[in-house]
Symmetry: C2
Subunit: 134 residues, 2 copies
DNA sequence: CTGCGTGCAAATGGTTTGCATCCAC
DNA sequence: GTGGATGCAAACCATTTGCACGCAG
């Protein structure tokens, strides 16, 4: 029954817009990049609201919060776990467009951990930063 | 020639102790857990020094800095990339003690990224937190 | 009407940094 | 002696939070 989960949840223009903008791009924006995107539509939105909604959406599995190696967290409009490429120089994150089976661990080998989800991230240098180095 | 890399590098008691303590444990301590460990040996060490040295050591590949899903970064005395298990509740990180081949991406599929290193992290609930929930 | 969501601003918390001093080489 | 490393404290910066108001249901 999904109604149990949705009890008391409202659809504000802010929340709607944040999700729409995030799904629109193929980049993996940080919270304040999302803030900039949404501000073009709702100029008076606050950064706190953006954080609250990204939190809300990722806790419901509607979007993905990428932990990753960098300082800032990045968000992905595609909630299905899939491998990412991260640039160790500029922090940019791309989707890996190559079918790569996510590794799995037999439950009895998971050292007692449960509900395992696999995160795969390839860290390297993106073509743009590689070029700059020359 | 390793002397080129080591130009001007000194081995202070602080740096030595930080590395020794980190290698001694099988947990994956955060910077201030390392601070606590080292403070038992060098009480007047500063947190800044711990950060500077963990930075120094990981940039040289002597230890591993785990990006990971949590807020704080964790460090691993074993510099060889290997899969980790992370508890999404308490943030604890364990080594996966199960041989799992790290996925590889053919260079021509890496979307122009170079020097790729693979990070695999399984996120789930550790046995301790699972028990607490009951 | 209700109470969830928002805007604003202050607070947090991990990490970084400037600077004078210290000590490994 | 020299410059890399330290201790201390202030600065940073991404993120979180308290509070009064606004608006979706």
């Amino acid at each position: 029954m999904e109604s149990e989960d949705k009890k008391g949840v409202r659809l504000s223009r802010q929340r709607e817009t944040i999700l729409a903008e995030l799904c629109k791009v193929k980049t993996h924006p940080t919270a304040d990049e999302v803030y900039d995107m949404v501000r073009k539509i709702i100029p008076r939105i606050s950064l706190g609201t953006v954080y609250r909604n990204l939190d809300f959406l990722s806790s419901r599995g509607v979007v993905l919060r990428l932990g990753g190696a960098g300082t800032q967290k990045r968000f992905d409009g595609n909630p299905t776990p899939h491998p990412h490429l991260r640039c160790s120089v500029c922090g940019r994150v791309d989707d890996l467009e190559y079918p790569l089976p996510l590794p799995e661990v037999p439950v009895e080998q998971a050292m007692g951990y449960t509900d395992l989800r696999c995160d795969v991230e390839f860290v390297g240098i993106c073509p743009i930063c590689a070029r700059k180095k020359m």
